[in-house]
């Protein structure tokens, strides 16, 4: 079902984890739909993404797209990162099954959400970035055991 690249990024995710005191953190998706991605960005004073980490609740494609997205934005400027599209993520993974395309969109959104957080925290405006819509805080249901 998945390409080798997807499987590789799923089983050996790059940059999985947290960044303490990150410059920006963004969480998108929704447990209801089965996918939540969180991106941590460490951005230096020149606006270059020094480090990027992720955590993901979701399917194999969700993990792989998160992993690949971190790879693609690392070392890039904020503006460059902004133009990393879901298509770029998919291409870098040698493609996704049609039913999984939404995972790559989520990865794009997660980066945007983290950048938005960074911009808010630092009180700057990033050209072409609007408030992300899919935030985990919008989620209604809570786990209950």
């Amino acid at each position: 079902m998945y390409t080798e690249k997807v499987m590789d990024h799923f089983t050996h995710p790059r940059n999985m984890g947290e960044i303490e005191n990150a410059s920006g953190v963004g969480t998108v998706g929704n447990a209801k739909c089965g996918d939540i991605m969180r991106m941590y960005l460490d951005i230096d004073d020149n606006g270059v993404i020094r480090d990027c980490k992720f955590k993901t609740f979701g399917c194999g494609a969700a993990v792989a797209t998160s992993s690949m997205a971190t790879e693609l934005v690392k070392g890039k400027s904020v503006q460059e990162a902004l133009s990393v599209t879901n298509k770029a993520v998919m291409e870098a993974l040698d493609g996704l099954p049609p039913v999984k395309v939404h995972c790559s969109l989520l990865a794009e959104e997660a980066i945007h959400a983290a950048l938005w957080d960074y911009a808010e925290k630092h009180n700057i405006k990033i050209e072409g970035l609007s408030k992300p819509k899919n935030d985990i805080s919008e989620e209604e249901e809570k786990p209950e055991y």
């Binding site: 089983t11 939540i36 979701g58 249901e141």
Partner: protein
């Protein structure tokens, strides 16, 4: 483990070698069409009759009440659609449950578009149908109650006898989708008051593409599939002789080995449940603990998603299944898990393991070890787990 550990016997089973053996002559040697009148074909007619007899006996039914179909899905479609058609003068109302297989639920949706009214009765948190609700749903126009014998996801066994009694009291036909139960549990259609019953061979180590519908004498359903005069004019199409013979053999073995299999599977199942519950935190067992198929385990692991879990198990040579949306191509997780009241994200984290007599204790232990490792790994990756831990500390 080098060898694959197959824990998805509710999806399909390995065809028994004895079953394949029994089928083989009917491909290349005794290949005649049972409807032909020459001697060469009459042996096939006889083989079909023998299989029918084995199956009828296994249910306490008469041979004239067993109709071969292409599988459980066709049987379910037949029972519902043709009851709706044949009993139109009596009414247009069908009662079923919220946790039926899609072969029932999607057929109901189809019928609703054609003037049928369907009541979907709730189940409790263990997946047992709410009998009081079922009783209240009965109307003068109710023509059919269709409730599955045992659920394919969470393994819960329904109070079939009680439902049969309710149906009889109100003179309503009672159909049960026994695709998961048949061959695992003893079933007597008369004792249980069942008027129609669906089964599928490949769920009990028989071949794929063959099933049957039991129809009690007196139930007036016509054919779903029209054409030749096969199956006493009720199911047209050249008989799948090898499939039927294989089904008969599979049933024969299933009935003979039922008790031993059950014991073995329950032992392994319970061990699996106990170890997982003891060794992994934030997990629950779905389905009824006691009214449960001997071979079914269903967990929900909090904070993780089922497909990831499945793929990682697969990489460790373990075949399992999940009620996660991702595995079905739809966006919502299993309707069964939602019907027992699980929130979406917990339904997404479900894992179904369904055993066969071929599984070993070693396999079960290995599987638990792997589940532990993988659940832990996925939780380390999970933002939900991160939040949970942070909140807690």
């Amino acid at each position: 483990m080098e060898n694959k550990i197959y824990l998805d016997n509710a999806a399909t089973t390995k065809t028994r070698p004895e079953v394949v053996e029994a089928m083989l002559p009917y491909f290349t040697e005794k290949f005649g069409n049972p409807s032909s009148i020459y001697e060469f074909a009459s042996q096939n007619r006889k083989a079909v009759d023998e299989a029918r007899e084995i199956i009828a006996k296994s249910l306490g039914a008469d041979i004239s009440e067993i109709y071969f179909t292409a599988g459980g899905t066709e049987s379910d479609n037949w029972a519902l659609k043709e009851t709706f058609d044949a009993y139109a003068s009596k009414g247009n109302h069908i009662i079923t449950s919220k946790i039926e297989h899609h072969a029932i639920l999607h057929t109901c949706e189809y019928l609703e578009k054609h003037g049928c009214e369907v009541t979907y009765v709730d189940v409790d948190e263990n997946g047992v149908i709410k009998l009081d609700q079922l009783k209240k749903a009965i109307r003068p126009t109710t023509i059919l109650i269709s409730v599955m014998f045992a659920n394919n996801e969470i393994g819960t066994i329904q109070p079939i006898k009680e439902i049969g009694e309710i149906a009889k009291q109100h003179n309503i036909l009672f159909h049960t989708d026994a695709v998961q139960a048949y061959g695992q549990l003893p079933i007597d259609v008369n004792e249980l008051g069942i008027d129609m019953l669906s089964a599928s061979a490949h769920k009990l180590h028989g071949p794929k593409g063959i099933g049957f519908l039991y129809i009690r004498k007196g139930a007036k359903l016509h054919s779903l599939i029209h054409g030749g005069a096969q199956e006493r004019q009720r199911r047209a199409g050249t008989e799948n002789v090898p499939g039927i013979v294989g089904f008969g053999k599979a049933v024969e073995i299933a009935m003979a080995t039922m008790e031993d299999r059950k014991k073995k599977e329950i032992y392994l199942r319970d061990k699996l449940m106990k170890r997982v519950l003891a060794e992994i935190p934030y997990v629950r067992v779905n389905g009824d603990r006691s009214r449960r198929l001997p071979n079914n385990v269903n967990f929900s692991f909090q904070f993780i998603e089922g497909e990831s879990l499945l793929i990682m198990l697969d990489m460790n040579n373990i075949c399992a299944s999940s009620g996660s949306a991702c595995t079905s191509g739809s966006l919502d997780p299993s309707h069964v898990l939602l019907a027992i009241g699980l929130p979406h994200e917990i339904a997404h984290g479900s894992l179904r393991l369904t055993l066969s007599e071929e599984n070993t204790e070693e396999e079960i232990d290995y599987t638990v070890d792997k589940i532990k490792e993988i659940v832990d790994k996925l939780r380390q990756m999970s933002p939900l787990y991160e939040d949970f831990i942070k909140k807690r500390s």
